[in-house]
Symmetry: D2
Subunit: 344 residues, 4 copies
Amino acid sequence: MSKKISFACDYLEGAHPEILKKLMETNMVQTQGYGLDEFSESAKKKIRQACDAPEADIFFLVGGTQTNEIVIYSLLKSYQGVISAETGHINVHEAGAIEFGGHKILTIKQQYGKVNYKDIKQCLQYYWDDSNRDHMVMPGMVYISQPTEYGTLYSLQELEEISSVCKEYKIPLYVDGARLAYALACPENNVSLKDLARLCDVFYIGGTKCGALFGEAVVIPKHNFIPHFFTLIKQQGALLAKGRINAIQFDTLFTDDLYIKLGKIAIDAAQKIKEALKNKGYEFDVPSPTNQIFVILNQSQLDKIQEFVSLGFWENLDNGRKVIRIATSWATTEENVKKLIELL
Amino acid sequence: MSKKISFACDYLEGAHPEILKKLMETNMVQTQGYGLDEFSESAKKKIRQACDAPEADIFFLVGGTQTNEIVIYSLLKSYQGVISAETGHINVHEAGAIEFGGHKILTIKQQYGKVNYKDIKQCLQYYWDDSNRDHMVMPGMVYISQPTEYGTLYSLQELEEISSVCKEYKIPLYVDGARLAYALACPENNVSLKDLARLCDVFYIGGTKCGALFGEAVVIPKHNFIPHFFTLIKQQGALLAKGRINAIQFDTLFTDDLYIKLGKIAIDAAQKIKEALKNKGYEFDVPSPTNQIFVILNQSQLDKIQEFVSLGFWENLDNGRKVIRIATSWATTEENVKKLIELL
Amino acid sequence: MSKKISFACDYLEGAHPEILKKLMETNMVQTQGYGLDEFSESAKKKIRQACDAPEADIFFLVGGTQTNEIVIYSLLKSYQGVISAETGHINVHEAGAIEFGGHKILTIKQQYGKVNYKDIKQCLQYYWDDSNRDHMVMPGMVYISQPTEYGTLYSLQELEEISSVCKEYKIPLYVDGARLAYALACPENNVSLKDLARLCDVFYIGGTKCGALFGEAVVIPKHNFIPHFFTLIKQQGALLAKGRINAIQFDTLFTDDLYIKLGKIAIDAAQKIKEALKNKGYEFDVPSPTNQIFVILNQSQLDKIQEFVSLGFWENLDNGRKVIRIATSWATTEENVKKLIELL
Amino acid sequence: MSKKISFACDYLEGAHPEILKKLMETNMVQTQGYGLDEFSESAKKKIRQACDAPEADIFFLVGGTQTNEIVIYSLLKSYQGVISAETGHINVHEAGAIEFGGHKILTIKQQYGKVNYKDIKQCLQYYWDDSNRDHMVMPGMVYISQPTEYGTLYSLQELEEISSVCKEYKIPLYVDGARLAYALACPENNVSLKDLARLCDVFYIGGTKCGALFGEAVVIPKHNFIPHFFTLIKQQGALLAKGRINAIQFDTLFTDDLYIKLGKIAIDAAQKIKEALKNKGYEFDVPSPTNQIFVILNQSQLDKIQEFVSLGFWENLDNGRKVIRIATSWATTEENVKKLIELL
């Protein structure tokens, strides 16, 4: 196995040890399948509490693309599409999963991964003003990510504006929280789980990239907002037989604020690396306050670092310069941060 | 948590302790995502060896419905359907997953969950003889389960006959091995992994019901038989970010024959229970040699047992009699077997 | 071109001459596209009147498979399937169109193409009684044909019973009227257009097989029962640019009862042929009162007739006997009926 | 019915009288259904000849969206998408038909509706260079329109360049010829039917907008390039029972060059209108040489004209100016052209 250390992404290790411990302890308990077990009830209760959403329906799914695919499919009518940033994960890196479900992604422009409520409104109004709209795809929901694919954050005001446009046009707002721990633990962030539950129709709390072996918790604040969601999950092959495995992980993450604590580890590490980079005069491509750092390197800098550290290639700029992504996570060690800083 | 013991199904507990141990040991190793890691390579190597299929493509998926859905979707052309027993899992308990992918299930008759090569051939010939066949769904593959949903087994000769019909009509044969450990460990069984690799175009080795937390290993003996299967998996939301979690489990199961050993635990337990039932004069609904027992009880017998043991309801017969399923598994303890036998 | 006369099906000729005349007369009138024209308004008005359904939404589609596909897709939720006779056109001769739309056909037994309200009820109750129903396809609507694929008719009482079960389970009833003219003109029939509008949620009045060049009129008695049906039609590629072409045909068919008159021509011809067959001692496979006759012939009888007349092969029976379909239509001439009778 | 004359689109009238005449003459001839008739054979033969493609498979479909949907669905693998101009009909005005079939439209930039071979190549190379491409939609074919949605034309050189990129990347090129008559009859055009058959893998010859009641002829120059296309058509509900109705129309259009003659009527009318507009100082939004004229009007000009003539609204510009589409067609009369010119 590679001896290089890696900052290439935020799913390099297994799970937080506390999670494995709980899986060990509960291993031989017999429970019903498909999420109808006590662990699932317990985890749901804790998440409802954290979200201040006592009536929320909560479902545990396995991965992010799967979650996006099923939620979006379940929310849209056949003749509708989903509004998303051009850079939205669903539009770029999900191998056409949304279109496989039969729906068009209606892309709008973005800055550092974020969309603006005005552009959402324009997209909606454009459709409703068009006399040929019956020949067109109706925008039927909005998809955003918090943090975005570029590590940036929507402020509470921005989220309220977007939510408000959705309410005006009577379409649901869905937030992809694959890296939500890294938003919640970020000092710049002012959007809480309770805000998400208040302002979104559906969102998910990411586990895979935030300390779990795998798993995403879908939160639907309003009970029965998606009827027969269980069967929709089953039909798309996403129902885990041993739902408890997923639930035990989230139960652990939502005990004693572990989810936020894990987020904080990544944010602190990222903070240190960013400071070091600034001090050494490196430039950034994106002003991202969370666990992803987009730094500009030239080839020789990159070669030198990559001898010892794996990083994520993002994009080519002019003059041979490259945007490189450094991702920290719940598993990032102080030792590795030090090594990286020394190398820079 | 329930104090009743349960024989209701074969996914009641977590995973074999050896698997959790391996997940612990490897937990902080950094690896690439999506199955491009060392653990995946190792697990694949062991499975290829066990199947005597050195060129096989192997993919790890999360669950059975998901696996059936993606494999069948990937093998069929749009205008084709899949031949299956009326009782096939894909036809009954997958919430329309195959149809969601756009394909008709062409059901044929069965006995105790098994289909006959003659009925497969008739279904195929009926299509090819029909002058209106261009208006009909073309049978494009065969789906069977080993063991079947009723715990019965195809003999090697039966499998060879079915394989032979498939070859004659140039369509792939796919075997659902959700409970394959319980076939492989069964004394009545004469179909080995090597036979499956030789006679099928695709099959899967079940993990979820055979000792893993979750997971199924898809074996495609002929390299590149399904081009771009990776992307097809991704598109259907079934690609695990930390592929290693799946791989480590199968690596463990295929070390020192653990997979077969776990199967044997279930088979031995089932054997004991069946003997006790026979001795006490109970009748069976299905002559199943593997880990599922289908016994006929009347309501008062059932009530008495269910006070202490959870069982699976299967079907109502006449005169208030019921078919009840008793499932053993890798996790069944001698103690629980004794308790059950005492209660009978 | 073949000099043989043909009774092979009911779409052998073009359209009733009155229709071509109207197309000629209106040919150079300029109208809006997509059914937003005066001819469409006029045709809809006449159909609403004939059905005594003043608020009905009416849409003109091109063919029967297309109509079934779009209506069924529009009525079902993703997790639902459609109940149909095993012999239903959607199950046998539509090349998997319903499954292409993502839905399972839940087949029930039939006699001469007809299903029984008790079997429908059983299918529904079976689902709702099953504790595993969340893993299964929910029956979400009923599909029947009037007349059936075997030329038989539902009586008013039978239709009321079926409608009543649908209402009890709160699912829509859809009637495929590809050959509806031949039901409406049949002396045995006691189900009127008004009955259909009263008892069904959606039905269609067939044009292709009943005197039009092509076209089917979908009647949705309750306004807006299927929201955005226009866009659903467009999305499935079924929206005719010059909707008037379809409308002018139905406007003509629903002027001066032409639709019924055309049906009567076929019924009278079929009546004569059936009497002749009976007199000559032929046996029938199906007691069909409409325009399709299913007669049993041996090979030598068939060979003799087929020298001069094209017939439809239906099925092989034992002893080399065959079921042969003789179809009359709006275009069947007395001369051809005579010729056929002479040959028999 | 409206007494205003209309230049709003090119599907305002029925069909060229010669077509109706042929439908009349052949009306009572009995033929087989589904395109297996003599008229279909004859029409196909004439089209093969016109395209110099003796082995071409030819299918008659009903409308443009339907044709695009089925052809694109049939050409792409599940994990592939179609490259198209942002303004491509499939991307804007087909209500998500391509996505309904499961595929992403990979849009590239355009000018006046035309795409450039360099941008196609860049889109392809971008995918193949990306190390994450297995998580992305593979570009699997190219879609262009001739003439484009803006009435512009690809030159033979441009088409050869695009074809050449497609060959280089081994993906099919498909040309939407909804208005092909207006390209073929245009003096600026240097792309013949033979060129299309030589350079494309599939294209269609539009009937609906070029003189037929409805209908599009799909030309697949290489025999069996799309296996089982007949069944794919049936499965999508697009198979016309009386295929002859479609065939007779194309047979007529491809007799004595009627198709080109009808194109010429529209081109000549457009030419006169454009000259008049130029002389009167109007500006054009698009330099389109075919039957669509995109002229810039202010509101008062528009109001004045629309009192007597229906025109197509296209787009708002600044200062209250609007882009208005004037469409001529095979049915445009000299009288109406004169009236329009007088009004301008």
